[in-house]
């Protein structure tokens, strides 16, 4: 397999893209999130910064995260792990462009990222009988046909993001699961998470692992600033009574740095999503299980404060602060407070809020 060449692409695609609608034609949503409504119907929802719903598109089952095309109004809604489908939606017309079925022996983890030129989609996947982590490669210019796969660099790749320079960071959570065992983790005694960097061509160029005492702290959700610093929301798989930090950051060439917070215990050992504010001054970490959000200083990682916010789950940049999905709507603000925007429609948000301009 000449995987080196997968992600190298020419300039031929521009003309093809012309005919496909841009985000402006889809009501210019700022955010995408999966949601459910009463009766367990499941949706992909586009929201403006004012909290207006510009579209809600039905998806076949419970969603997790989404990947937004860099410039076309196309979004990929992923099923929740261990999902076997992802739906590519034209967010301007609401039509389904393609449905991605994970190949035999693979399932999706619920995250993915486009290449900077928008030509390829990468999806985090579980090769569960091997067991190993993979990145599925799909051709966005050829009906999202699967054209191959790459190693993710570890077990249990969960969130992957594209960095400002077009390279990628992958959170290999380390947790081995198998669809026959539903969502149970099978390898806690031996699990070893890592953060893996791939260049824009999909080659692994760097990896970092936590130290021994943090081996059971799963690296699952990540965000990055324009300088390439990656911040990490952690999920502790060890003894639930052990107090551990749930936020870490990393810059290539350095060790992982872990940051404690006096209110970490309120997260119930589970940090959900993470974001860095656009001005770099704050980091927000959500705790959907504990209904709590932690704010850290964006430069030093020192704790600022925390807030009880029921079902606080997805977080993305909003101005110089954050938009956070929580029960009943969106909170826009940061450590110093914010404004609650009620979103009508009776949605129960799913885990992540994906910012369209910054994906």
């Amino acid at each position: 397999m000449k995987r080196r060449h997968f992600l190298i692409s020419g300039a031929a695609g521009a003309a093809l893209s012309m005919a496909r609608p841009s985000w402006a034609m889809a009501g210019a949503p700022a955010y995408l999130t999966a949601a459910s409504k009463e009766g367990n119907s499941t949706w992909l929802v586009g929201l403006t910064e004012q909290g207006d719903v510009v579209f809600e598109l039905p998806i076949p089952s419970r969603g997790h995260a989404a990947a937004a095309h860099p410039f076309l109004a196309e979004a990929v809604a992923f099923a929740r792990r261990p999902g076997r489908f992802a739906v590519v939606l034209d967010c301007a017309t609401g039509s389904e462009i393609a449905r991605l079925d994970s190949p035999e022996g693979r399932h999706f983890y619920g995250h993915g990222a486009f290449t900077a030129d928008g030509k390829l989609l990468l999806t985090t996947e579980n090769a569960y009988d091997v067991p190993d982590g993979r990145l599925g490669v799909w051709d966005a210019e050829d009906g999202y046909k699967r054209i191959g796969e790459l190693p993710s660099g570890g077990i249990g790749p969960h969130e992957m993001i594209r960095l400002a320079d077009g390279s990628f960071a992958v959170a290999n959570g380390g947790m081995q699961t198998h669809p026959d065992y539903d969502r149970a983790v099978l390898n806690i005694p031996s699990m070893k998470p890592n953060l893996t960097y791939l260049d824009a061509q999909g080659e692994i160029v760097d990896q970092v692992e936590p130290p021994a005492d943090m081996r059971l702290n799963s690296i699952r959700h990540i965000a990055a600033d324009d300088t390439g610093r990656v911040v990490i929301a952690l999920q502790w798989q060890g003894n639930p009574l052990t107090a551990v930090p749930l936020m870490a950051s990393h810059r290539r060439g350095e060790d992982l740095a872990f940051f404690d917070h006096p209110e970490t215990v309120r997260l119930k050992q589970y940090a959900g999503s993470i974001a860095i504010s656009a001005d770099g001054s704050e980091i927000a970490v959500t705790g959907p299980k504990g209904g709590h959000v932690l704010f850290f200083d964006g430069q030093t990682g020192a704790p600022i404060n925390g807030r009880a916010l029921p079902e606080a789950s997805g977080v993305a940049q909003f101005g110089d602060r954050f938009a956070i999905t929580l029960a009943g709507g969106l909170l826009e603000g940061g450590a110093s407070g914010g404004k609650m925007l009620d979103v009508a429609g009776g949605y129960s948000w799913d885990n992540h809020l994906v910012s369209i301009r910054r994906v």
Partner: protein, 370 residues
């Protein structure tokens, strides 16, 4: 630690004893006493409080069931260790060892439903029962074990250091039921290690500071169970998962398609224990419903679900041959398929009759995490 459960069991008996003949005023037919409790079981006919479920009582009773089920795995693995030694020393025969091997697997079968807490944190799902094994990890790990000296093979600590495939019931099965393979002394080491795992699992639940204590301490400061109902929900979900395991995995794998069944995808096809494992897992689930959820489920729902359990177990019996053989014959294939449908039906009935009684939400939210 050991006094508490016994005491609460006594209290339960006392309550049941006095309440057997309870009656309340019957508003619709004054003068006619309305019986609230079954004479036979001593349990209330209706969910107490009509929608107010006593999750503390459910937890107490479920933990008693778990204590019994995990305790039984400790007992049987000890007996297996003894049986392996006797067999390898020549003081008992192969049949006695195989009988004890069967009893051990039957003790594990109910625990397969509980993939949370100690089983998850100790990685026991794969060490005890590495299955499905599409890539022959068990055979490969056993080759590593058999390449060691006799002394090492018989040493549980050596086995514990090998990959999961060599540590569990499928490894013993492959050694014992494969022609031309000498099971001794490897079965001694594997059995001893299995017993160590069984003790660790029971301790993980019931030693001081174990998962049972965590469940008992449910509340806003608990890192896992924010209130008592969350433990009920986890247990209910585990039973649901157990039924899915039977339908989709234990039966679905060997069934394959009508044109292409997969007899060797049946669990424990070498020993032919497939059907017994399914019955034992069903009985384990039923035990939690009967003695754990018990009176917090209305009498009519309870008696109906027992009927469906009984019918489902009857469907296993009616297959007549091990699942691995049954799927290769068109007539009995249909019976295996019928059992699968019945298990799915049972799962549906649990969701209709039992879940709502317990106030277990079927909806989902971001708080489920991922």
């Amino acid at each position: 630690m050991t006094v508490k459960p016994i005491l609460s069991a006594l209290v339960l008996c006392a309550v049941a004893g006095t309440s057997a003949a309870q009656s309340i005023a019957n508003k619709e037919a004054p003068g006619v006493a309305l019986e609230t409790h079954s004479e036979e079981t001593g349990l209330p006919y209706f969910a107490p409080g009509r929608g107010v479920v006593d999750h503390d009582a459910i937890r107490r009773r479920v933990l008693e069931v778990f204590d019994r089920q995990f305790g039984s795995f400790v007992t049987e693995t000890q007996a297996l260790t003894d049986a392996a030694l006797a067999y390898c020393e020549g003081t008992s025969d192969e049949a006695a060892f195989k009988a004890q091997f069967r009893d051990t697997w039957m003790a594990w079968a109910p625990l397969d439903s509980y993939q949370f807490g100690p089983i998850e944190s100790q990685g026991a799902a794969l060490t005890v029962n590495f299955w499905p094994d599409k890539k022959n990890f068990v055979g490969r790990a056993l080759r590593d074990l058999l390449n060691k000296t006799a002394e090492e093979q018989a040493d549980p600590a050596v086995v514990a250091g090998l990959s999961a495939g060599a540590q569990g019931l499928p490894a013993i099965e492959m050694l014992t039921y494969t022609d031309g393979v000498e099971p001794c002394p490897a079965v001694v080491g594997i059995s001893g290690n299995l017993h160590r795992i069984a003790v660790d699992l029971h301790d993980g639940w019931f030693a001081e500071g174990g998962w049972a204590d965590l469940a008992r301490a449910a509340g806003p400061d608990n890192p896992v169970y924010l209130d008592a109902s969350e433990f009920t929900k986890v247990v209910y979900t585990a039973l649901d998962f157990g039924l899915t395991r039977i339908a989709d995995t234990r039966l679905g794998r060997p069934l394959g398609t009508y044109e292409r069944p997969n007899p060797k995808h049946a669990e424990a096809w070498r020993s032919g224990l497939t059907n017994d494992i399914i019955v034992a897992q069903l009985k384990g689930i039923e035990e939690v419903v009967r003695f754990g959820f018990a009176g917090d489920i209305a009498e009519n729902n309870r008696s109906w679900i027992y009927t469906v359990f009984e019918q489902t177990e009857g469907r296993v019996d009616s297959i007549g041959t091990p699942v691995s053989e049954a799927v290769t014959d068109p007539m009995s294939y249909i019976r295996v398929e019928g059992l699968q449908s019945k298990v799915q039906y049972l799962k549906g009935e649990m969701d209709q009759e039992i879940g709502p009684n317990l106030g277990v939400e079927t909806g989902f939210s971001a708080a489920d995490g991922d």
